[in-house]
């Protein structure tokens, strides 16, 4: 029978470093997906995964049994992703004109996609990445948590520390911006 997360956490808290392996093996793919959605970049996502587990290990004594480990880890992962994104200098600004005739710039991640990424439906991913790069850190966090992770408004507002109404509005703004970038490209048969 699989031992629950809480029992494993207790082992780690009691000094069993290797017990942490179970948590890493169990949650790595989820953290990677979240990290990739946040950073839109494979190398950055890998870095976020590593940093997330390192931070989780160092802070595991502060984990309380009433919390959900996955949610706790998700919160650390989002913080790591935001930290890394703030360190990355954007480049390749694309300019355009929005529906009000105002000029805007699209910031895309500076890391070169590389051949592997291009093979994996690179064009599709780049379009979404460009759209996602239009979002502020808060908008991106709220959108990723709601759209990809299916988290509730309450969970999102807790992570970002805003009120429920503000969380809903942030998601609305995020979707609005995504539409503004993706709709002119037309044809969503991605």
């Amino acid at each position: 029978m699989e031992v629950g997360d809480l029992a494993v956490i207790r082992q780690v808290q009691a000094g069993d470093r290797d017990a942490f392996r179970t948590l890493v093996e169990r949650h790595s793919r989820t953290v990677f997906r979240l990290a990739y959605r946040m950073t839109q970049n494979e190398q950055d996502a890998e870095e976020v995964v590593q940093e997330t587990f390192l931070r989780a290990y160092k802070s595991i004594d502060s984990f309380e049994s009433r919390a959900n480990f996955s949610t706790w880890l998700c919160r650390i992962g989002i913080n790591c992703a935001l930290t890394l994104m703030s360190q990355r200098k954007p480049s390749q600004p694309l300019s355009g004109t929005d529906e009000d005739g105002e000029e805007y710039e699209i910031q895309v991640p500076s890391t070169d996609p590389g051949p592997e990424r291009r093979v994996l439906s690179g064009e599709v991913r780049d379009r979404v990445a460009k759209a996602m790069s239009q979002l502020s850190a808060v908008e991106r966090t709220a959108f990723v948590m709601r759209h990809f992770e299916g988290r509730s408004i309450e969970e999102i507002s807790n992570v970002i520390d805003i009120k429920d109404g503000a969380a809903k509005h942030t998601i609305f703004r995020a979707v609005q911006k995504l539409r503004r970038v993706l709709e002119p490209l037309g044809g969503y048969a991605l």
Binding site: V12, A14, G15, D16, R17, F20, R21, V24, E25, R26, H27, S28, R29, F32, Y36, R37, E42, A45, V49, Q50, F53, L54, R55, A56, Y57, K58, S59, D61, S62, F63, E64, A67, W72, R75, N79, T83, S86, R117, L120, S121, V124, R125, R127, V128, A131, H147, I153, D161, K168, I171, F172, V175, Q176, L178, R179, L182, E183, Y188, A189, L190
Partner: protein, 258 residues
Amino acid sequence: MSHLNEEELIQHYYGDEQARPANEKHLDECETCRAEFARLEEMLGAISDAPIPERGGEYGTEVWNRIRAHLPERQRRGWFDWMVQPRGWAVAGALAALLIVAFYLGRISRPEPQSPTAKVEDKDRKVLLVALGDHLDRSQMVLVELSNLPKTGEVDISQEQQRAQELVASNRLYRQAAVRNGDNDLAAVLDELERVLVDVSHEPSQLNGEEMASIRQRIESKGILFKVRVIGSKVRNDERRPGTQDSPVSRSSSRQTI
């Protein structure tokens, strides 16, 4: 017929709107909104379908192999180690608080004391007030220190975290005692304080400027520091005042809405 606006359509997509049945009915009847909603669904569906790089079943092991060398050894805890760990102190603090609260509740649940026992009653009340006042002072210090940490660069909050962890358990007991005594104002402040303390405990111990700003914002936005100060000073005033038969926690806050 007024159409659904973009925000309503987006909320409908995620099932977040309150007027869901009404909006569903409207979408059934309104071709314009239905078409707009279909466009939105198509775009959001496309974002969902955008591929992400695959990670196989061995990915977790790969991550473990990458990080294991960077994980510091953890000290195995015996009974004595447990006692000197922050968690041990937190439990000890909580037990002390529990004893004080239980002792006090035992006293006030007795029939109305006669004059000779009133002095004893007053001493009990003061014991609780001193303990509560001390708890509020220590909480205030943690909040002040967190608010004053450097605003840039990497900051280590492990010490503040340890103290926050120690305070969480006692805080819970004081809050429950306040609820039991019907002191809703004090209970509400202790509830807010507990949330902040738990949040701080759950943060990583190394924070960057942005994360620190988020903690500061959490403390400041709820005015929790101010509320703890007000309650703390009222408790201290009550300590000095001759006793009455009211609940001390109730007397300490019910005359002023925080």
